[in-house]
């Protein structure tokens, strides 16, 4: 059953089209990565799901209803948002109590979630003295307050230290195994790839790709190089199956847009000899770049936008 359902969702900010006719659904028991470069419309989409931004057209539903129609919404949906704030003079615990009180969440639960995110010792400190990472942990604690069925997280790894990121990754995996739902946005592909089952790739407000991570990997345009004595037969065989292939040298064939699995099986079925087979470019990063190429090439001022950082994870404590 689809728990998050987005249909024809569109948002215009003045003349800027932030989200353009987006439709997707997210099922229970999975972690779905919401990917795309900066400015792709990820945050706007998540904020429309949470009733914070009013869609220009279309609808965003959780359990079949709009966020504003959920009774005690914190008990159904937990959200971690980037621009969410804290009163600097209020303590972490009191921040949670004030928010939880609205949906009838007990004070004891506030201590539980503080414990869960590793802030138990800092609960009675004013948030004004918190580091970026501690604020992010507190934001996560707030999302967990109502023991929700659905978690929506916008760039949750921002500002977290490596231990925090590892903890978050494990937590999200565990959360999804409880037959619950996680939708997590990220512009850090490497980070997302370790956590998610399914991906939704957004580019300039539109869907650029949707599917399981494995599926998507297979869809990547890869180059398969095969060394075989029967190059002519291989080239025609691949062409018959709609795969672009050409001779590189007397014993080398290069095929585009396929995988070693496909080529290997075809060759075995047809009794062709393989001397060597390699593939290149089969990485999620490259696929991601391909899907979001438009945004890279045609940035706002005609210059390429900065490429998404693909690396071992964000530095702790950086500004977002």
């Amino acid at each position: 059953m689809a728990t998050i359902e987005v249909q024809g969702l569109t948002k215009h900010f003045g003349s800027v089209v932030a989200v353009d006719g987006l439709s997707f659904s997210v099922d229970r028991g999975s972690v779905t990565g919401f990917l795309g470069p900066n400015g792709a419309g990820k945050t706007t989409t998540l904020r429309m799901l949470l009733g914070l931004v009013r869609p220009t057209a279309g609808q965003a539903l959780i359990n079949g209803v709009a966020y504003r129609d959920l009774p005690d919404p914190e008990r159904t949906v937990g959200a971690v948002l980037e621009s969410s704030g804290f009163h600097p003079a209020r303590t972490a615990r009191n921040h949670l109590r004030a928010v939880g009180m609205v949906d009838g969440i007990a004070a004891a639960r506030c201590d539980e979630v503080l414990e869960q995110v590793g802030l138990a010792a800092d609960g009675n400190r004013p948030v004004g003295g918190f580091s970026m990472g501690m604020r992010q942990r507190l934001e996560l604690a707030r999302a967990l307050l109502g023991d929700p069925q659905v978690l929506i997280l916008d760039e949750p790894a921002n500002g977290l230290d490596p231990q925090g990121i590892a903890w978050l990754r494990n937590f999200l995996r565990w959360f999804a195994t409880q037959d619950r739902v996680v939708l997590v946005s990220s512009h850090l592909l490497a980070e997302a790839a370790q956590t998610v089952d399914d991906v939704i790739v957004l580019n300039r407000g539109r869907m650029a790709g949707h599917g399981s991570l494995t599926e998507l990997r297979q869809r990547a345009t890869t180059t398969v190089r095969v060394r075989t004595p029967e190059t002519d037969r291989l080239v025609s065989l691949l062409s018959e199956h709609g795969i672009q292939a050409r001779h590189q040298s007397s014993d080398l064939v290069e095929a585009q847009g396929t995988t070693v699995e496909v080529v290997g099986r075809l060759m075995a079925d047809n009794g062709l000899v393989v001397l060597e087979m390699t593939s290149a470019g089969e990485s999620l990063e490259e696929l991601f770049f391909q899907m979001t190429e438009g945004a890279q090439r045609f940035g706002a001022a005609g210059h390429p936008e900065p490429a998404p950082v693909v690396g071992p994870g964000p530095m702790p404590g950086g500004p977002s």
Binding site: L50, A79, A98
Partner: protein, 265 residues
Amino acid sequence: MNRLIRSEVFKLRTVWSTWLLVGLTAVLIAGLSALVAFVPHHGAVNFPAKGTAAWFDDLFSVMALAVDLALVLGAIMITSEFRHKTVTPTFLAEPRRGRMAAAKLVVALGGGLTLAVVAGAVALVYGLASVATGVGGIATMGTMLTEFRHVWPGVAAAAVLYGAYGVGLGALLKNQVVTIVVALVALAVVEPIVGAAVPSVGRWLPGYAAQALESVAASARMHAGFGAVSSVHLLVWWAGALVIIGYGVVLAALGSLTTLRADVT
């Protein structure tokens, strides 16, 4: 709605700015009362003799400052949500934004009352001290208490309603500094000018409406101290109350249609 109200009260209790306002109310009223009580004004025609009913009226009219501070409190209640971006978690917990605004209006009434009680307590201390020390030689407990009963209820009613007026103004203007400056400049500068130039319009402004409430009893025997405002014929007290309620509700409604309806990004 009860849970929303409890949450709003809790939010107020858990930041020091609220207690700063409470403290400020006490300190300012103590200071101004001291001015009235101890500064001698020999020969000044406009000042009533110490210890008379009119003098106690002057002493207690200092409490009116709580009304302005109630306005500041109401304004801070809503604008701090935008200033510190707590509006995001607030709206996540209660996405029906009108209910959030309504809860704040209700809590601001209580906030105004709290400041009025603090102001009343401080003023009473001065009143009691004046009686105990026999200031002017003629002060009696009875005169003092009668005057207090004349002045305090009007001040309290005005403070309560001004709390809600502050929420309404803040809901519309959103920016904390702008809201407080606009509110206080309107009260201290714009209204007296309008009141002097067009008294028939002035009486409908929030400041004069508050004065109508504050001077329920005093207006009956307006003494020289109140001469400055006499060009404006104040509304009857209940009309003044309705006018302030009107400002609060209309501003909050306008705010709900504009600021509060806007996307939270």
